[in-house]
């Protein structure tokens, strides 16, 4: 496999590297190399870290909601899944859309699959999905107050249901990322009847989709149970009769559950097993299949340029120089020294993240931990004794490795004279207020919600964006971001995206961070599965099956 993934020889052989690419009408199916006929039936069991905040995809960014919805809902296009897709790459394939054409820089016409039916549950009761559903969903997406994912589609001017199975999107301006953005795991197609009946989509009863499984039951603190959608629009799929997401907030318990064979996948987010636990997992689970790759998730540092002293570039550089990424990633049970430094676009975007050695000289220095240099920079900024600030962090859900990351970071900042007073905030409030700018001094969180690289600079640095908590309003940067969006030629766009990352590093407009090279693991009896980044856990299981 490529340099970007650490697929084991065993997993390559068993999942079939020579995967046959089937017609673009559905996910990748089992490969000839496996010479095995997929088996119907069984239940996929995996652990998740927390209960959903609620079930309305237009009211949250959070993975605790989006992951459970990925088993139930569909979207027009999706990120392709299966053994033929290397982790860290995100090719697009049709989902509810059968095909599409781009008739101009700003016009896209999608032909929907015919005969797609909603789950046979009230209040939708299995009626056929039509273009009006697409129009309704995205108009709600764009008009509902407080949708944190609005930037995904905010450049859309109008959506028209041309006929029962044709939808036309007209954009306000060209956007080369449009299809990637439509494949986001926030663009699920929802039913008007559910919103009308329940007022919103927060209640579990309102979860009615067109996806591979139907949400049967949610037992808070226990599990989410799904059953197979017998009318799924890809005939014969999904293979598994049911899915169970076991809600387990304790990492030791999650690991024990998996080692004891009560779940089929690695116990952490994205089916990962912590590197510390990997040897015992391999010992206990003969034939364990694994893939090593860099995940999206990484630290996120928030501060406001308008709040002294963060407007001073020397202070921002000092923050970076005081951060010891190597110590963080060598200490965590999750990484045990396996990590990749991230520029503005996470390294998990193999095609779009600039290698650190291609940054400018000042940008490269950000990744060189040096307490003395940090102190010197602070002194030059008129802060010879450093400064004090508050640092907000999420109190729950992210787990002990995140807590360690926060503590190590604060310790190293303190050594350079930056005294962070830690203020822990309830996860729900953190994800809905702190990261949107409701903090005094700084925050330390996680990023990694989006499967399109543009989000990592568009949402964070474009003036007017809710996540631009830094308050960046730099005409040069804004113009570069606009230019790349108008550039359909991929190599040219990539150069602009690299330039943006060089510029952001030069200006030290983000806290330096890195991502773990995680080890996703799945049991030997799980076939035709390949993990990847992003919330679409359900999508990656559609064509997987259980050989038990």
């Amino acid at each position: 496999m490529s340099d970007n993934t650490g697929l084991t020889r065993r997993s390559v052989l068993t999942t079939g590297a020579a995967a046959a690419v089937l017609a673009a009408t559905g996910p990748q199916l089992v490969t000839p190399a496996q010479a095995q006929t997929p088996k119907r039936g069984g239940t996929f069991r995996m652990t998740v870290l927390a209960d959903p905040l609620h079930f309305d995809p237009h009211q949250t960014l959070s993975f605790v909601t989006m992951v459970p919805l990925s088993f139930v809902y569909s979207r027009l296009v999706k990120v392709k899944a299966g053994p033929s897709v290397k982790p860290m790459t995100y090719p697009i394939e049709p989902d509810l859309a059968e095909s599409w054409t781009q008739t101009s820089d700003t016009t896209y016409v999608f032909k929907l699959r015919k005969g797609v039916r909603w789950h046979n549950k009230p209040p939708v009761n299995g009626r056929e999905l039509t273009a009006d559903d697409i129009k309704y969903t995205y108009e709600r997406f764009l008009s509902i107050a407080g949708n944190p994912n609005k930037p995904v589609l905010e450049y859309v001017d109008k959506i028209e249901a041309v006929d029962k199975h044709t939808v036309k999107f007209t954009l306000k301006e060209p956007n080369a990322w449009f299809l990637d953005l439509l494949a986001s795991t926030s663009t699920w197609i929802v039913a008007k009847e559910c919103v009308e009946k329940f007022g919103d989509l927060k209640k579990v009863e309102s979860v009615v989709g067109t996806g591979p499984w139907m949400l049967e039951r949610w037992e808070p603190n226990v599990k989410l149970s799904y059953v197979r959608n017998p009318n799924y629009y890809f005939p014969g799929l999904p293979y598994a009769d049911a899915v169970e997401l076991l809600i387990d907030k304790d990492p030791a318990s999650r690991l024990a559950t998996w080692l004891a064979g009560k779940t089929d996948f690695g116990p952490e987010y994205q089916q990962a097993v912590r590197w510390l636990d990997a040897p015992i997992a391999r010992q206990r689970k003969p034939g364990l299949q694994t893939a090593e790759y860099t995940w999206f998730t990484s630290g996120a540092t928030g501060f406001k340029l308008a709040t002294p002293p963060f407007g001073d570039i020397r202070v921002r550089r000092a923050l970076a120089r005081a951060s010891n990424l190597a110590e963080v990633f060598e200490s965590l049970a999750f990484s045990q020294g396996r990590w990749t430094p991230n520029p503005a676009v996470p390294a998990a975007f193999a095609d779009w993240s600039i290698p650190i050695d291609q940054l400018g000289p000042e940008g490269r220095k950000l990744y060189e931990f040096n307490t003395a240099e940090a102190k010197k920079l602070l002194a030059e900024a008129g802060l010879p004794n450093g400064f004090k600030t508050t640092v907000e962090a999420a109190a729950t859900v992210y787990g002990p490795d995140y807590d360690d990351f926060v503590q190590i970071t604060l310790k190293n900042w303190a050594a350079a004279g930056i005294q962070g007073d830690l203020k822990q905030k309830e996860y729900g409030a953190f994800i809905t207020s702190t990261i949107f700018g409701k903090f005094d001094g700084m925050f330390l969180g996680l990023r990694g919600a989006w499967a399109d690289p543009e989000a990592y600079f568009y949402r964070w640095y474009m003036p007017g964006q809710a996540l631009n908590v830094w308050g960046v309003n730099d005409p040069k940067l804004t113009e570069m971001i606009r230019l790349q969006r108008r550039t359909f030629d991929v190599p040219k766009r990539k150069q602009i995206v690299f330039d943006i990352q060089r510029y952001l590093a030069e200006q030290a407009l983000f806290g330096v961070d890195g991502s773990i090279r995680i080890l996703s693991a799945w049991d030997s009896h799980v076939k035709n599965f390949m993990p990847n980044n992003g919330f679409d856990f359900g999508g990656r299981l559609i064509a997987a099956w259980l050989d038990k």
Binding site: V222, D248, S253, A256, T257, A260, E426, T432, S433
Partner: protein, 313 residues
């Protein structure tokens, strides 16, 4: 006896009233405004004042307290601020789970603690006594949550087996329901058992030196009769006092044990409610815990009277 019971019941009323005031006030002292949280997180209202009014949190706290207490007396613990579900119905679902866990843990504490304490006292300074005291120190030293994690994880690593199961409600299978609580109850009960064992041993040693026990020996009674019939009955009165206190300790320990074993009882419910500043839920759960503790202490008092008819406070 009836007068004694009535007196104890009357004394319990002010205890409950004072506890209700504390239960109502303390959650409001936790830093963080639930209205702010709700507005930010789920856009429940137009603005802070609108939402505060919707939730009835704009009235003076004494008025809120009197309203709440009046509703409690009528059997209404209010609604969760977040889910709008009645607290009582949530408690009705979760309380039996926690109560079963707590009762089992207490049973474990008694079954382990009292006999070992008796044996240790009777074989004072012998091998059994040494062994029992060492076990007690170990039981007191290792926190329940550490034990829970080790018991969950180590068998999985060594033998590919874990006691952690998917929770089975009582209605689905009463046997499976009880079975899944046994191990958490043992872990929860061990710390209490250690304390009970030490106290039983100490009290029994003291009682065994009393004149009436010496008389019993002199009469030629068998050891079994002297210890169990004459000495133990008097020795366990302080132990029973401690049992009442152990109910509170077990209720506290259950929060973490429920977390590790994935038991959807009141412990997890309480942690979530505290994090979300869900006042009615925090009040409801704490009030329920207070009622249980007051009731168990009442039971302890009544047991005194049964064990020693001279006791009439």
């Amino acid at each position: 006896m009836r007068a004694y019971v009535l007196r104890r019941l009357v004394v319990a009323v002010p205890s409950l009233l004072i506890a209700s005031l504390i239960v109502f006030t303390l959650p409001r002292l936790i830093p963080g405004d639930v209205v702010q949280l709700m507005l930010e997180e789920k856009a429940y209202g137009k603005d802070l004042e609108d939402l505060r009014a919707k939730l009835g949190l704009n009235r003076p706290i004494p008025v809120q307290y009197v309203d709440w207490l009046g509703a409690v007396v009528r059997g209404n613990l209010g609604e969760s601020l977040w889910t709008r579900q009645p607290v009582l119905s949530e408690l009705a679902r979760r309380l039996p789970v926690s109560a079963a866990l707590g009762a089992l843990a207490l049973a474990v504490a008694i079954v382990i603690g009292v006999p070992i304490g008796v044996i240790a006292a009777v074989r004072q300074d012998g091998v059994l006594d040494f062994f029992a005291r060492s076990l007690a120190v170990l039981g007191l030293s290792v926190p329940a949550f550490v034990m829970a994690i080790l018991v969950t994880l180590l068998p999985a690593i060594w033998w590919g087996w874990t006691p952690r199961t998917q929770f089975v409600p009582f209605a689905t299978s009463p046997a499976a329901f009880v079975l899944q609580l046994v191990l958490p109850a043992v872990i929860l009960g061990i710390t209490s058992a250690a304390g009970i064992m030490r106290l039983t041993r100490g009290m029994l040693l003291e009682v065994l030196r009393h004149d009436y026990v010496r008389t019993a020996w002199a009469k030629g009674l068998r050891e079994r009769e002297v210890v169990l019939k004459h000495a133990l009955k008097n020795a366990v009165i302080p132990v029973i006092t401690v049992l009442g206190l152990q109910v509170a300790a077990i209720a506290g320990g259950a929060v973490v044990i429920e977390w590790v074993f994935g038991i959807p009882g009141m412990g997890q419910f309480l942690v979530d409610a505290i994090v979300q500043r869900d006042y009615p839920v925090i009040q409801g759960i704490n009030l329920m815990i207070v009622v249980i503790i007051v009731a168990s202490n009442l039971l302890v008092d009544l047991t005194y009277a049964f064990l020693d008819p001279r006791i009439r406070y």
